[in-house]
């Protein structure tokens, strides 16, 4: 933690960065995102298991951009997010100083995208055993049970869009749900509209999601939304051999193809 604070202080003092996006103490013994602009305030930065939010979501928020050149405390999901955002033309090399954090909490020096790519490449990207287990559980259900499970989960959805707000890849200034000519997705939070919303959201994240899990954490009614994107991530990898957030060059599952992609389901 001291190393982190020291590094943050250096960045601010040297003027290389004007704001550090990191974790600090929040209410109720939770960690929250803080935005440190003064060297002396770097003491507020913390780093422990509670710090799991994907801070990269703030990189594209106008309010944060207005604070000046950022540095960001970056665990694996943040690193992958940065690469994916770069691939999608939302970040350029040098836009953000990265304070890399290894899985065991050590500082990693990652000067540029290339370094990040190599580092991400060196880490395992599989789901955690717990995540995998939860996914398998649902996959193994009968289709009727799956339908019951999800419609029941979605029935609680309030359309508060916290999932969207927490997702670094939902950076559209006007989301498709806000479009009303045509009104693709009904505003009313009824079962059908909710299902449509979550299917659309998952499809929009297919091949882009880096599985930070924030959507699920953000959901006030505890819908395990990350399962949807995890499932698609699995499909994208098994079908097309692609993984989001591993390269800063765009190589997106749905804007590329192979002539021999599987089509056993097509008549």
């Amino acid at each position: 933690m001291d190393a982190l604070r020291k590094k943050a202080r250096e960045l601010l003092e040297s003027g290389d960065s004007e704001v550090i996006i990191g974790y600090g103490e929040g209410s109720g013994n939770r960690a929250r995102a803080i935005f440190v602009q003064k060297p002396e305030e770097t003491e507020r930065l913390i780093l422990d298991d509670r710090c799991e939010q994907n801070l990269a979501v703030y990189l594209l928020k106008r309010e944060v951009k207005s604070l000046g050149k950022p540095a960001i405390v970056a665990r694996l999901p943040v690193l992958r997010t940065i690469l994916q955002l770069a691939a999608e033309n939302q970040l350029s090399d040098g836009d953000v100083a990265v304070i890399g954090i290894s899985p065991d909490g050590e500082l990693v020096d990652l000067p540029d995208f290339k370094a990040i790519e190599e580092y991400v490449d060196s880490l395992p990207l599989e789901l955690s055993p717990e995540e995998q287990e939860q996914l398998e559980k649902i996959k193994n259900m009968s289709i009727e049970d799956r339908w019951r499970f999800w419609t029941d989960e979605f029935s609680r959805c309030l359309k508060c869009y916290a999932c969207r707000a927490s997702c670094p890849f939902c950076y559209c200034s006007t989301c498709v749900v806000e479009r009303n000519i045509p009104q693709w997705i009904p505003v009313a939070p009824h079962g059908q509209g909710n299902l449509e919303w979550h299917v659309v959201r998952a499809m929009h994240l297919a091949g882009r999601c880096v599985n930070c899990g924030d959507c699920a954490r953000a959901c006030p009614v505890d819908i395990p939304l990350n399962l949807l994107t995890q499932k698609l991530d699995e499909e994208v990898f098994s079908n097309f051999g692609l993984k989001a957030g591993t390269t800063s060059e765009l190589n997106y599952a749905l804007s590329t193809f192979k002539p021999d992609d599987q089509e056993n389901f097509i008549r």
Partner: protein
């Protein structure tokens, strides 16, 4: 009581399947009346949201059809579409949506007979499944 007649909405590309269905007509091959066709330039244009909307609108089954791989009038639209459907189908299946109601086909401008056969078999399969009440019911969940 009369047999249940499913409502099938088809999204087809202009150059292969729409033309193929024209050929079905010019060859006077009869097929089930249940299908309503919506014409788009290319399967690449067919947004998965249109399929959701079709079901929301009360479709019991949906057909998406375009040019065979390699035949796309726009060279690659159908390849992009194919990837889209691979993911969309698996997602639908994952949320418990019965994918036997969503059908994909390659029907070329020369395959008038195949179009009739595709429509008929889809109509029969969906008739077996019965009306898509599960999905219609959803529209009431949370409102009532």
């Amino acid at each position: 009581m009369a047999e249940f007649e499913p409502k099938i909405i088809a999204f087809v590309c202009n150059w292969c399947t729409y033309a193929g269905a024209d050929l079905t007509g010019t060859s006077r091959i009869k097929y089930a009346t249940n299908v309503r066709m919506i014409r788009l330039p290319c399967t690449g244009r067919i947004d998965f949201m249109l399929l959701l909307k079709a079901f929301a609108q009360g479709a019991d089954g949906v057909i998406v059809s375009g040019c065979h791989p390699g035949d796309c009038h726009y060279t690659a639209g159908n390849y992009h579409a194919r990837r889209r459907w691979i993911l969309f189908r698996s997602l639908l299946d994952f949320v418990g949506f019965d994918t036997r109601r969503v059908h994909f086909a390659w029907v070329s401008a020369a395959e008038g007979a195949k179009w009739a056969q595709v429509v008929n078999s889809v109509v029969n399969e969906v008739r077996e499944l019965g009306p898509f009440e599960d999905y219609q019911k959803l529209a009431r969940v949370g409102v009532e």
